[in-house]
Structure formats: structure tokens, C-alpha cells
Symmetry: C2
Subunit: 476 residues, 2 copies
């Protein structure tokens, strides 16, 4: 296994050095590279292909729920940000500013969008006339810019790709329903496509989006026990409607402010996939988002009809709509095995002259590392079934891991112990900001989610009556 | 026809005021709106839906020819632009510059990409090692920024959406083949999907991309006789390879510079569709790129089973993959007719109680304004066939119009006359810059394309021996 050793040596140990393991995996599997400007990333074809699949999965669900895509300008007048007080406070420190263009200094500086509530709100204010125009249900796929001090590919970069949905409604109820509908779609894609189980719920006021009435998020446990905020859906109430004058003439003849929402997920989801499923050999991709779902590796490729049979299998799988690749390079078999394992291809089919004689091939599952002989006759159906099983098993394994590492704590000592063990910790919280800050200060952890299906007796910090049960975790 | 009058009055006369007609059409059909920053546009859902279809058509052809999508950073260090002398000269006046970010002044100003040769070249230089890594075939879908003084939605805006392909090759021949292959794909999409006939060919040195060895373009005649440069493919030779150190170790052990290409089309194509096909009633969309291909308008919708039959037709068309919309709003029939005509929906199906009794419906073709009764039985096949016919006829009509308005000129008087008539004018050119400048100065027209399948005797400006036959036109 000398070859394998070579590969594995490239990747830091996942158990003892998770951060370096992550960096090694994203760089060495060809997902990203660092851009020349500090904090930027280049998304390479293998990484971008995952993003394209995630986009397609989300986009069809957005459209099925009545949303239309549009595109709003990248540059926003600085003055727009000051219209919503919390919003400007939240985003000011992270803005990138254009001061010169076309060889001249601009009269007003322009901000590269960190998010588009302000410019979209301005346009909605212009477009919205009557209650008949509601709801407005739009989404845009775009790049955004948030100048960050500490960056990591996919998880936190100054520029990233995302979608941002922005909707306007006649009533509070409709806007709240929309907020929860989109959160449910995010959860569905996270779990069914990314095989990444998430806990959804309301964020605390401290953690909510700058300018929102309420933010709902989904949190996923990474393999190091830290939480990744993987998507958020904001109920904005009338805050932005009032700041940007988003009004309509109602059926009763009165001018009313609309209720708005916004919601987004980003290329950060790719980081979530990596840290939910990866192992000591590298990436492990769930079939639903794998750019290559099946790789065929011929053994003793030049012997007899091996290549021919492999091509036949490739064609049969492709005809089923499986994303399949036949590795017909001159690399050694060991090299091929290791490369595709590192790249996380869910299923490998191995096939040599003796297998052909016996009318079979070997399936290798990347997630469990299990091998199994499979008859050549009907192999395309077996491959399809195997991919489904892998998809399901990966979600279940991730969920079981999270559940095994989710504990209740009644006091700060247990909380510290559980957090150090890499757990999600459930606890009671009185609801006050002081206790929330104390958790952060003493534990370097945050309240990730307020649980809506569980209750607690007393606050883990102050011991007073608990208003809510929450999940506390260290987070990305 | 009072209602129709109302609609038509919204749109300036196409014959006497083409520029205002264009502005009216793009705004009033809901394709775009003006953004708050001068020179920017908001692409509204109806316009963005066209772009999504164009993207899908191009993207599948890029992938079928071996290209992979990737994403490179928006911000490029200013110093990168100075590495290729012609490139910096060409783009400097149009750059938007970020000088502050994260609350601090940046050590080096960053440019919002006007095009990405410089940053992609930098990454290729890092990635390319051996001849085995070639060719590198990448594309990115993104926004770019060019600060323009005079702007018009889709045609020229400070920010626009496009794709930019960037490839690196071992040999000059391969890079030249790639340049022409992508030009051919652009032509195919322009003609087969947009029904917009184009003339392809080499641009003059004056008109070529800043830093290219040669630029090949496609030019389309708009209804006012002006030419639209609708896409370009650049053979960059080793210019950018030398400026950005894109080198590889060849099989013979020598370090060699790669040959590179770049190619792009943008949301400008939507402007091309509008000005190729639009008429006094508004938009006329070719079926292949129409977000709504068929609209069903019920006549006396509340009578008998009209709505039910209409819904049945909608379902049958949708099952065929036709993008169909049933207009079940409360608007009057006249209003519906006019609205969907203005929005350019290729085929309208009208259907009332008497039609149902007679087992038929009425087809209305947006391109020819022709009406025709069609049997309800098998109407989905008839609709499919009609869309195909419309698509074909629209291309042919546009081509016939262009051919009728393409003339040869032997002298400057004829050239002036033909240009004023709104023609593409073929003429001889000696190949010198002075004569090219003279055309521009005296005629407010430019050499659009050098024809490779025609020759001429003498230069239309100086009368010397003609090196080439060219097309001269006024242009967007």
C-alpha cells in the first residue's frame, strides 16, 4: 500500500488536526484554490460542479413554490445602508467600497453588496402599487462580498456565491409562512441531497440578521463536533418596508406597508458536506451531489476485452442518468483507487479479466469502504440501487453520530465538559442577553438554536426559570 | 380596438423612433428596470428567464466540447492589469476601483473585473506544470463591470452578466481551432435559438480585444440597419502566456509558453433578440428562448366548460415540454391579447364556447399575426409543429431582411447612401488604419467584419489595391 501511503500522507490526520485536514482536503482534491487577494477563493471545476448540482436542486424547489429569478445590481449607494439602523450597524465593518470609476472619483461611494435587502427593497418600493401585485416572490443567484479578517475556503471568504430570496407579502401571517417554507426547503435539500442532518429553529436576538424581526437557521454538526450555520431564513416584519417605503394600496383603499422576508444559502454548504462526511482518506460525497457518482477502474486494462466491457458498463450507467467516469488513464490501479477515494466518489466498480470470466465486477463503497461482488448482468440497476443505499446510509450515519453527541447539561461544569467532548449541548436558558453573553465568554460557545419542541426548567447560567430550551455549541 | 390602442400608445413608433421604441419595449414588457446607480440595470424575471434559457443552451454546448465551469474572484489587484500593455490601455478608462474595505484603506487598489484574463492567467500559471495538463478548458458565468458613459439596458451597461471562456493549449493550431470552435457555437445558438442570423469573421486590428492576436466576432443586423456585435472569440497567441508566465514542461523536456484563447457572450444577446424581431406591438420572441411559448386565452371564460377545456389543453402542452401559460385572470380578452402580444409570446391559442362546439381552437402567430383554426383533437402536436415553424420562419425572415439590405459599394458616395438607408455595406479595403479611420470619421460607421469568402479589387477609401472585402455598418 505504498501508493496509498503517498496519498494519505498529503492529508493531515482528521482525528488530531481537523482544521489542517479540512484545508488539505479542499486544496488537494481540487475543490478550490486561494485567490491572489487575501480572503478570496477560486472555485475549481470539481468544486463548482458540486455547486451547480446544489443550485439545480434548490432552484427547482424555489420555482415549484412560485419564485422567479431576477438580477439586481452589484453596487449599492452607501446611503442605502444607513436607512435601516440595525442593518448598517451589522454590515458596516465588512463593506468593500468603490470610490473611483471610469477614471474619476465618485460623488457617492458605492458598496459591493454584502446582501441585497437595501437595493431590492428600493426596487420593490417602485414596483409595488396594489395588493394585486402581492406577493412578490423573487430570488437571485449572485456573488456577495463581506470583508472578513479570518477566512477559510467555503466557510468564510470575502467573496462567496449564494442565492438570496426576497419576498413581500400583504400580511404578517403570509410572510411568516414564507419564512418557514423556505427554511423547510433548505432542510430538505440539506438532508435529502447533502445527506447533512440539520436542526432548524429560531436564532436568538443577538444572533439574528441585522434588521430582521426574527431569524431562523439550520445548524449541522461537523465531524469535530462544531456547528455550521448552513442557511438562514429571515422574517423582516415591516422593518425594511418602512425603511425603503415598500407600500401598497390595499383592497380597502388604505396604503399599507408590506411584510418582507429574505433567505439565503451559499457555497458554505460545500464546506458542510466536506466536514459532515469526510474521513482520513479525504472527501466522501453523497451520490446526490457528487459530480462523479461512479468511477469504473479497469484492472489489467490491456488484457482481453477488459476495456471494452468497461466501456459497455459506462454506457449502460450513463443511459440511466448516472454520472459515471471510466478511468482509462495510464496511472496504476493503486493510484487510481487512491485518487478517486480522496475525491470522494461514492461508488467504484473494479473489473479485471478474471471478473469478466466469472461474469461479475466488484463494488467498492466509499462511505463504508465495503467491497461486494456484483453480477455484470444488470449491473446498471445494481449501481443505481447502491447509490440510493449510500445516500440513505450517509444521512443516517451522520444523524446517528449527531444524536450520540447531543447531550443535556444542567450546570456549567457539565456544559464545559460536553462542549470539550465536541457535543451539541441542550440546556435551559432564561432568555436574557446577559446569560447568553456569559456562555460565549466562559465557554467560547454560542446558543445556536432555540428548540421549539423541547422545554427546560431552569437557565443553565443564572438558575432562574428557563424560558426556553436551546442548543449550545462551538461553531464555524 | 380601443384597448389595443392603449397598449400601442405606450410604445414609440418603431419606424420613426427606433431608440425610444427599444427603451419602451424593454421597460414596458418587464424585461428590465433602471438600477439606482447610473448605468446599471435590474434584470426583471421576464428578462432573466430569457437569460436562463440562453445560458442553458450555451452551457450544454460548452460542456459537450469538454469545457468545465469554474469561478474566479471578482476583485483583481490593479497591478495585474499593467502586465499586458495593450490590455491595460484598453481597459483602464472603464475600471471601477475598490480602495477601502473592512473599514480600512487598502494597500493596493482592487479592480472589479471588466474581464478575467489577468486573474485567470495568474491561476493557470500556478496550475499548469506539464503538457499532460493541457488543454485547460474552463468557462465562468459571472458579472463584469465596465464603466461606460452612455448606457442602454442590455446593450451597454456598467455591470452586465456574461460567460467568459478561457483556454490554454500546447500549440498555436489547437488554440486557433478552439477560437473558431467557440465562434461556431455562438453562431449556432444565435441562429438556431435566437433566430438571429449572424455574419462571423475576423475583426480589424483596431477593433480587436485589447491584448489579443486576433478577434473574431459575430455581427447581427438590427431592424434599424445597425449592426450588433453579439459575441467575440479571441485568439490570444502567447501574449497573455508571456505576461502571466503560463508555461509548461513539454514532452521534449523544454519549458514552453502556452497559447491561450478567450471568448464571451453576454446579456447583450437579449438586446439582439429584441431588435432583430420586435415590431410595432412590442416584443416578438423566438420559441426557443421564449419563457412563455404558448399562451391560452379563454373567450367567455365563465361559459360552459371553457375553462375546463383550456386547462386540459394546458396540461397536454405542458406534458410535451412546452412552456405554456393559461391566462385565467379577470382581465378583458382584449387586454390579454394586447399584453401577451406586447410580451412577444410566439403562439396564442384562443378558445370560446362556439369553438368547443365545433371542436376547434384558433392559433394566432405573433411573428406573422396570422390566425388559423386548429382541431382540438391533437392540438398539442399542432402547437409543437407551429412553434417549430415559427422558429424557422423567424430566422428566415431576419435573414431575408438582412440580405435585402446588404449592398456593395464601390465609392464613398454610394457607401454614404447605403449606410443612410440602413444597410450593411460590402466594400474593398486596402487594410490600412488610415482608411479605416477615414470611414469612421466621414461615415460614423466602422468596419465590422473582414469577409473571408469574398474579395474586392480596390479600397473604397484610397482606391489602392484592396487586400480584403469587408462589411461596413453603423453599430451599437
Amino acid at each position: 500500500m505504498a501508493k496509498q501511503q503517498n496519498f494519505v500522507e498529503q492529508i493531515a490526520d482528521i482525528e488530531t488536526n481537523f482544521p489542517q485536514w479540512y484545508t488539505d482536503v479542499v486544496i488537494k482534491t481540487g475543490l478550490v484554490d486561494y485567490g491572489p487577494v487575501k480572503g478570496t477563493m477560486v472555485i475549481k471545476p470539481y468544486g463548482y460542479a458540486i455547486w451547480e448540482i446544489i443550485q439545480a436542486e434548490l432552484d427547482k424547489r424555489f420555482k415549484a413554490t412560485g419564485h422567479q429569478n431576477a438580477y439586481f445590481p452589484l453596487l449599492i449607494p452607501m446611503s442605502y445602508f444607513t436607512k435601516e439602523a440595525e442593518h448598517v450597524e451589522g454590515f458596516s465593518p465588512e463593506l468593500a467600497v468603490v470610490t473611483h470609476a471610469g477614471g474619476e472619483e465618485l460623488a457617492e461611494p458605492l458598496v459591493i453588496r454584502p446582501t441585497s435587502e437595501t437595493i431590492i427593497g428600493t426596487m420593490y418600493s417602485k414596483w409595488l402599487q396594489s395588493y394585486r401585485d402581492l406577493p412578490i416572490l423573487m430570488n437571485q443567484w449572485c456573488n456577495v462580498m463581506r470583508w472578513e479578517k479570518t477566512t477559510r475556503p467555503f466557510l468564510r471568504t470575502s467573496e462567496f456565491l449564494w442565492q438570496e430570496g426576497h419576498t413581500a407579502h400583504a400580511t404578517e401571517e403570509e410572510a411568516q409562512e414564507e419564512t418557514m417554507r423556505m427554511l423547510a426547503i433548505y432542510k430538505e435539500v440539506a438532508e435529502d441531497c447533502l445527506a447533512m442532518p440539520v436542526i432548524t429553529g429560531r436564532k436568538t436576538d443577538k444572533e439574528k440578521f441585522a434588521g430582521a424581526e426574527a431569524t431562523y437557521g439550520m445548524e449541522a454538526m461537523m465531524k469535530d463536533g462544531k456547528s455550521l450555520q448552513a442557511g438562514t431564513s429571515h422574517y423582516l416584519g415591516q422593518n425594511f418596508a418602512k425603511a425603503f417605503d415598500i407600500k401598497y394600496l390595499d383592497a380597502d383603499g388604505a396604503l399599507k406597508y408590506a411584510y418582507t422576508t429574505s433567505w439565503g444559502v451559499s457555497t458554505r454548504l460545500i464546506g458542510g458536506i466536506i466536514m459532515t462526511h469526510g474521513d482520513e482518506r479525504g472527501l466522501v460525497l453523497p451520490p446526490a451531489v457528487a459530480p462523479v457518482q461512479v468511477v469504473i477502474v479497469p484492472i489489467a486494462a490491456r488484457k482481453g476485452n477488459v476495456m471494452e466491457v468497461c466501456k459497455g458498463i459506462e454506457a449502460k450507467l450513463a443511459a440511466k442518468g448516472i454520472r459515471v467516469k471510466l478511468d482509462d488513464t495510464d496511472n496504476s490501479t493503486g493510484w487510481k483507487f487512491n485518487e478517486w477515494e480522496m475525491k470522494g466518489v461514492p461508488l467504484r466498480i473494479e473489473l479485471g479479466p478474471r471478473d469478466i470470466e466469472e461474469g461479475k465486477a466488484l463494488f467498492f463503497r466509499r462511505d463504508t469502504l465495503a467491497k461486494e461482488p456484483v453480477a455484470l448482468e444488470g449491473i446498471e440497476d445494481e449501481a443505481e440501487a447502491a447509490l440510493k443505499t449510500i445516500q440513505k446510509d450517509m444521512l443516517e450515519a451522520a444523524r446517528a453520530r449527531r444524536e450520540a453527541r447531543t447531550t443535556w447539561a444542567d450546570n456549567m461544569e457539565d456544559l464545559a465538559k460536553d462542549l470539550d467532548a465536541g457535543n451539541f449541548v441542550k440546556a435551559g436558558w432564561c432568555g436574557c442577553r446577559k446569560c447568553e453573553d456569559a456562555v460565549k465568554e466562559k465557554m467560547q460557545a454560542t446558543i445556536r438554536i432555540i428548540l421549539d419542541d423541547e422545554t427546560a426548567d431552569k437557565c443553565i447560567v443564572c438558575g432562574e426559570k428557563a424560558d426556553k430550551a436551546v442548543i449550545i455549541a462551538r461553531a464555524y
